[in-house]
Subunit: 232 residues, 2 copies
DNA sequence: CGGAGTATTGAAACCTATCAACAATTGTGG
DNA sequence: CCACAATTGTTGATAGGTTTCAATACTCCG
């Protein structure tokens, strides 16, 4: 439904702005430059810093012993890394593209929260909206078909980039097909096949490897919401 | 590994106690009795109350149009429902068994947080630990086989009940096989088959429908962590 | 232009779902 | 207390959606 876009909007990024402000106000940050592929933090590492992304994209993932990996989320400009109340990173983070970000000492943030309790509550709401997103993804991973997952993913991405100021149908895919697969619990081949299936069905266009144009948002939404009459 | 039990421990319930205290201190609660199967809240409902579970179990789930459903989590005694910084419930909640719980007005809680900023931060950490659990489940739903998911589920349950004071290998299953299936993104048949497979392999015993005894925690842990050499 | 990495496409295999039957348990009323 | 119905769980056979394996096409860069 069209409404889901609005809802996702508020859930997705509305609380990110306070986060940005909060982190900014913590003062002295150090600018960091990362090349594509570089690792920022590893699952289990103690949290020493908070990072505010200026440009570029990251992938956050958890891995299983034999190499399987689940990408928890993709981060872009204005997103934060390391904003958790627990002492250790729950996932690893790698740069997908070249990334510029600002690093702040986590300790400074803590004292700032103590000084301004309002921030504590903002962080709580931020965590809650993240939680909402996580639950939405559990539904997708546990109960949606491959097509439904890809449709959900594209719409989610469109909404996040819409917040960031794009037109809402032209999506930039910073990540590879493999990343998308690892995010959706599928294989690269399945993702590829479904992209072409959507293209053939006239639901999307694929100008190039890193671009998707949603040409039939309604049909994609129906698919994503499990309204069955898919038409592919 | 054995360590994962310890880790899960701290992630799982450590921050629940402050939650309980917090909610309790908000004063005047009303005791509520629910029969098995009754609905407490529906996805999308505005949040008016916070509930503290005294006895019994709940299931929290999100549903898709055509009836598919993903159980986000199971709640038991000392767990709280409605502790979110967002205005609406992200999921529906139903009683699995008969349930006794205490209802507090959400507004009262808010004023309490304002009065005592310390609580705001506690809530933040609570939300973060929930988030950690959610991410762990995304990994399971997206990248683990049916056997691995069931093993993870049993170990997770054992840890949560361990926190609650059980011996750590005798698990009580308040929920049905269907509930387990909807939690793990499987069908009831697959869950049933894997239970018997584990039983035949000597990894668990099934005294009755609502009980599981973990007789080989190490092998279950290896399976859950994807250490491949399953042995079934 | 060539080569490496990435994406697409095809064929076969596999895991899990679906369909169906049966067993076990629980609850109910005679 | 037993008999029966209803519910829940188990087991089997088959089907189907994704994965896996393999080959080909594309794209980016040196």
């Amino acid at each position: 439904m069209a409404t889901s876009m609005v809802v996702e909007n508020t859930y997705g990024q509305a609380w990110q702005r306070p986060c940005v402000d909060l982190v900014r106000e913590s003062g002295l940050g150090v600018t960091i430059n990362l090349a594509a592929g570089q690792t920022i933090v590893v699952e289990g590492d103690p949290i020493d810093n908070v990072y505010l992304i200026v440009s570029g994209s990251l992938r956050l993932y958890k891995a299983v012993a034999d190499g399987r990996r689940q990408i928890i989320d993709f981060l872009g400009p204005k997103d934060c890394l390391g904003l958790t109340g627990l002492g250790h990173h729950a996932y690893s983070a790698e740069a997908i593209t070249d990334v510029v970000m600002i690093r702040y000492p986590h300790r400074r943030l803590e004292s700032l929260i103590e000084a301004n309790p309002e921030f504590g509550h903002s962080l709580f709401r931020l965590a809650c909206s993240e939680l909402g997103r996580a639950q939405q993804r559990m539904l997708a991973l546990g109960r949606k078909s491959a097509e439904e997952r890809v449709a959900s993913f594209l719409l989610d991405l469109a909404n996040r980039q819409w917040d960031a100021g794009t037109n809402g149908t032209d999506i930039h895919l910073a990540m590879s097909r493999q990343d998308i697969a690892d995010h959706l619990g599928l294989t690269i081949e399945t993702v590829s096949r479904i992209f072409t299936r959507f293209k053939v069905a006239g639901m999307i266009r694929l100008p190039d490897r890193h671009a998707v144009v949603l040409s039939d948002v309604e049909r994609l939404s129906n698919l994503a919401d499990g309204d069955e009459f898919a038409a592919c």
